[in-house]
Symmetry: C2
Subunit: 257 residues, 2 copies
């Protein structure tokens, strides 16, 4: 599905930016790069900045006009700085990504078009786009590096794509627990822990049930929001057990052995 989304760079000056854009694309699972009259390409600097994304550079289409670059596209999205005077339907990057995914879900082709480093897209080029996309940068310092702009839009496309696939945008906490063979504790395990803790705190003289000063509720609030795993619980229970032994003077006895 993502292969229906092409990134089009118009008249790029610095080959390093082409490499950086290729790396950003590949990080986000995109592969089709189209270069409209790049000033300096192929280039060793592009390869260096692409890191492992050289396949994207190797497979890049180089064309002579934006029109050629947009062949077959049902949706064309052009990046634009804030101060354009053409009134045009404008999307933020998240809306842009939603529009991309909607289009490719219907087997349509999409182009994300990025202009020159110094001057962006011309008015003529912007008028070939169905929508303009603006990255909401600080108005006092609004111009992003070209590869950084590609990174932001392709990141949003990936987030929207993962959501559309029902795929998580992160490993769930459960999985990380599971990696250590340990699921989250159950409520009753937590209760046994609190009981163990309370008796331990009494034993070491820190807690007086006759004058509780909200101690246990505070500890419950502290541990309760932590989503403790069984493994972690074993550690905490181990600490309590050892604390009880110490309170009974057993540590010293063992040391003597």
């Amino acid at each position: 599905m993502l292969q229906n989304i092409r990134v089009v760079l118009v008249n790029t000056s610095h080959p390093g930016n082409i490499g950086g854009a290729a790396r950003a694309m590949k990080n986000m699972g995109l592969s089709r790069l189209v270069l409209v009259q790049p000033r300096d390409f192929p280039s060793a600097e592009a390869v260096a900045r692409a890191a492992g994304a050289v396949d994207i550079l190797d497979n890049a289409c180089i064309v002579n006009s934006l029109e050629e670059a947009l062949g077959g596209c049902g949706l064309v999205l052009g990046t634009s700085a804030r101060n354009r005077h053409i009134p045009w339907p404008l999307l933020d990057p998240r809306e842009c990504a939603a529009a991309c995914i909607e289009q490719v879900e219907q087997a349509g082709e999409v182009a994300l078009v990025f202009g020159r480093e110094d001057s962006g897209l011309s008015n003529d080029e912007l008028q070939r786009c169905h929508f303009h996309v603006h990255i909401p940068s600080d108005p006092e310092f609004s111009s992003l590096n070209l590869a950084a702009a590609v990174q932001v839009l392709t990141y949003e496309v990936r987030m929207a794509w993962l959501a559309a696939q029902g795929q998580p945008t992160k490993m769930a906490k459960l999985e990380t627990h599971a990696e250590q063979g340990s699921l989250p504790v159950t409520a009753d395990e937590l209760e046994r822990f609190y009981a163990h803790m309370e008796s331990t705190l009494v034993q070491i003289g820190f807690h007086d049930p006759e004058n509780p000063r909200h101690l246990m509720p505070r500890l419950r609030r502290l541990y309760g929001r932590n989503n403790i795993s069984k493994l972690e619980m074993n550690i905490l229970r181990g600490i309590l057990t050892e604390t009880q032994k110490a309170a009974r003077g057993e540590v010293y006895k063992r040391r003597d052995n």
Copy 2:
């Protein structure tokens, strides 16, 4: 509020990445950069890649340890690749940004921590973080450029900040209409347009009210979703008027004048 969020780069190798990170930060309205033992800084390459964000480089704090970098922080978020074996609370970039804004709204200090280009943050460093953040890249090619990773997280912080301020993430369509001194058309203006269009289509022989073939509903659907401005409506109405004249043969008369 955003000044309470610092970006911490640990043991950065390439000064270009420090410059790129500074530019990304400034684009997104952040200003506080902390460098833990950078390998090559200050550097002309950092200045070049920072573009106009040299003030951020000039004001960067250079420190000897991550501990120093995190002084005063109530929330520490560390970027992490997918395959870490420490189970730790993990956020995606959007959740990370929400946590940042929540913290700074309570006047807390936040650190976004980024590791080395080749090896990221060490397990020891990751354990100093309250949360880990993973940018959901393609598992086949998951390692982002350092400045690109700073760009993604600071972009999400800005999006969350704009939302928290009730500020738009883009110019509204209304504003772009307003730039041309033209507000969106009202429903009755739209109705008069459809009536004008229908009579015109009858005149040119394209539309037969006895056999309407859903023509008008289709045109309503087409124009209705376009949020047409008064200026655009004037243009469309002008076209209809001229079409009617043409249908009456008036164009030829005028040409003869």
